[in-house]
Symmetry: C2
C-alpha cells in the first residue's frame, strides 16, 4: 500500500486561530504540533521538559529574562527545561513544536491563552 | 544577550557525505540530526524507538515490506518502532531525523553504511 506523509501546508490550512497548538504526529511519547503565532504570548516555563521551536514560515522572537533569540523559517531553537520565556511574533508565524505529550502551552503560568491539550488535526 | 537559532542551511553547508547523520540539537534525551540521502540505503529497523523523518529539501521514498511512502520538502513521517524500512532518494535529499540519543542509523542491520553516532556539527 501507499502510506501518506504529513504535509505541513495542508495541516496549517485546517485552522486559523493563534496560540493553539494542534498535534500532527506522535513519536514514542512525544508530540509534534503545529501552531500559528501572532502578537505577544505570556511569560511561562515548563518545569519538566525542554521544548523545541522549529519555524516553518515567517519569523518570531523568544524573549528570555537575560536576552532573546530571533528564529526565522529554516531555523530551530531548544528552550531548556525551566527557563522562563515569552514568544512574540510581529506578523503571523508558523511553527512546529516538539515536546512530550501532555505539555501545556502556557506551562506553569495558566491564564486565558492556555489552549486545550490533545487536539489532533 | 542575543542567543542564536540553529540554521539548517548553515549546518548542511558543513558536510557533504551521504547517510551520515550529524547532531544539531538535543531536547531532553532526544537528538535532532541533519542527514543527506542519495541512492539506496539498507533494510533495517529500530527495535526500541519510533523514528521521525522531516524532509527539508528534495524528496525521498521509504520502502516498507508492504508498501512505501513518498516524502517531499515540507512533509514528515513517523516510522513506527520495529518496522522494517529502506530509505531511497533518486537525487540528493536533505532530511532532519528526530530520535533518541544513541540511535544508530542502520538499526539492527549493521554493515558498511553504519555511521558513527554522536557527531555534532
Amino acid at each position: 500500500m501507499t502510506y501518506k506523509a504529513t504535509n505541513f501546508s495542508e495541516k496549517f490550512a485546517l485552522f486559523s486561530e493563534h496560540w493553539s497548538p494542534k498535534i500532527i504526529a506522535q513519536m514514542n511519547d512525544y508530540h509534534f504540533k503545529l501552531v500559528k503565532f501572532q502578537g505577544e504570548f505570556v511569560w511561562h516555563h515548563h518545569s519538566d521538559t525542554d521544548e523545541v521551536f522549529i519555524v516553518l514560515d515567517g519569523e518570531m522572537t523568544i524573549h528570555f529574562k537575560d536576552g532573546d533569540v530571533h528564529i526565522k523559517a529554516g531555523e530551530m531553537f531548544v528552550i531548556p527545561k525551566g527557563v522562563e520565556h515569552k514568544p512574540f511574533a510581529q506578523q503571523e508565524c508558523k511553527v512546529m513544536l516538539v515536546e512530550p505529550a501532555g505539555t501545556i502551552n502556557t506551562g506553569d503560568a495558566g491564564g486565558e491563552k492556555t489552549a486545550p491539550d490533545g487536539v489532533w488535526i
